[in-house]
Symmetry: C2
Subunit: 279 residues, 2 copies
């Protein structure tokens, strides 16, 4: 791990930067550094759209972000068009779409997002959480792509940007012995040591290997829809991410993610509908 | 219960009817029959938007519907404007907004929805579900608004349209002794005996008393965002709905709903972010 960088000055911040072209319209560059095989990671894309909406809307923080994935994004230029749907006193709602050019120069929509924003620092302090942090071994007993014993298949550019250490109990797939349970748990951080913030939580919920691997299914698990609720500004330090699939049926599966911060708070919850691998 | 009516010819179908005004634009009438206190039920509104999208899109069935609630709807006229975002071979994505007129005659947006549609009858048969149907007593041992021993507070017009029988284990709130657990379970049907279909599942996920009641909190729990995944066409007969809240914090709570059909299949999953009652 490199010397820690600060929020605002990191790989993640540079690669999710957006440049105002005209009111509500932002230019972006999808980095090849956040690809899995050839596809751009869906959580990275969500963070990019989330940053644009944070600039466009009167409130700074994503509270609820719902994304429907339309076509596969490619590394390279993109434009994000935002719309303010409603501006309230404590919350505002916006819409954003990410477009890229196809071979003929026409605009193709990649993702469309509806999002409600607010101010996480102004929420009341009451906490009545029955959820428990995931039972995950200490970080030094978990394994990342570089730890062996066998290299984790499917490694891609994004693995260099992330600091993921998987719970050995959910690592059977990498050794040819998937558990058969739809569970994946890991310690999560950014490789350059940048601390988490609400935008990086949008990445964290979609950055682990798919639960389908532990169900013995290999191959692509394209996201159809992903909704993230940001419940609390995360404390500095590593996150723990727990992903669960309870229902694989009809060619689809859901992935529910819980993200816990170093202060033992449930900082994000997400659910996605994805297409099950054929394998 | 009245003599059973058929899908397409029921209170629910009449009250969620939409009339094509021009391509993509539908007139509707929000029925006062689906109100809780004075507010129009959010699941009923979602079913209305879902019906309009089912007519506008090339695929018939909602697979994933994400709604952001903007302003409180009122019984009376409404217009739904839809847009086809993407048309694929097996799935299509659309957007819809419901508008009403304010006192000055201006259009006010009530809800905006992004939705991915497909064809539930063309999904493969594979089922690998680890989720278990909710542990709920037989219907005759559960209680509805008319069963006493105490009348259930908060009863409203919608209770006449629904056939809800709550698990006694989640009914403590009605007797002044909430369990403190964020759980609500019930048998769910439509009062006129109409069988479930994908549209009525959009209603079912948001029709039970809020889990906040069992957490000892009374009052309004307005939905900020609600996403529903329809996983299977439901079999005829009563549904079982289980709602869980694990994280009440910062003035918000999530409600996760599972809906099971009479064939013991998990037919719908939803999650919503709602504002916690102040009580």
């Amino acid at each position: 791990m490199a010397e820690a960088v600060t929020i605002g000055d990191s790989e993640f911040d540079r690669d999710t930067a957006v440049a105002l072209r005209e009111p509500g319209v932002y230019d972006a560059e999808l980095s090849a550094g956040w690809t899995i095989i050839r596809a751009v990671n869906g959580g990275y894309l969500l963070a990019l759209l989330g940053r644009a909406l944070g600039e466009a809307l009167p409130h700074p923080d994503p509270l609820a972000v719902s994304a429907h994935y339309l076509t596969a994004s490619q590394p390279g230029p993109a434009v994000i068009r935002t719309q303010t749907v409603r501006s309230g006193r404590t919350m505002s709602t916006g819409q954003a779409s990410l477009f890229q050019r196809d071979e003929d120069g026409g605009e193709v929509e990649r993702i469309r997002v509806l999002a409600t924003y607010g101010d996480l620092d102004r929420l009341p302090d009451d906490v009545r959480t029955s959820a428990k942090p995931p039972a995950i071994p200490p970080r030094e007993h978990c394994f990342g792509p570089s730890d062996g014993p066998a290299p984790i298949p499917g490694s891609s550019a994004i693995t260099d940007r992330l600091d993921i250490k998987l719970d050995p109990a959910t690592l059977g797939w990498a050794l040819g012995a998937p558990s058969g349970k739809g569970e994946m748990r890991a310690w999560f951080g950014l490789a350059d040591g940048r601390d988490p913030d609400p935008l990086s939580l949008l990445l964290a919920v979609d950055a682990l290997p798919p639960t389908a691997f532990e169900l013995g299914l290999e191959g692509w698990t394209p996201t159809v829809e992903l909704t993230v609720h940001i419940r609390c500004r995360p404390a500095p330090g590593p996150l723990r991410v727990s992903i669960t699939t309870r229902n694989l049926a009809g060619g689809f599966l859901e992935e529910d993610a819980d993200v816990w911060d170093s202060a033992d708070r449930l900082v994000a919850q997400s659910r996605q509908l994805a297409m099950a691998p054929r394998g």
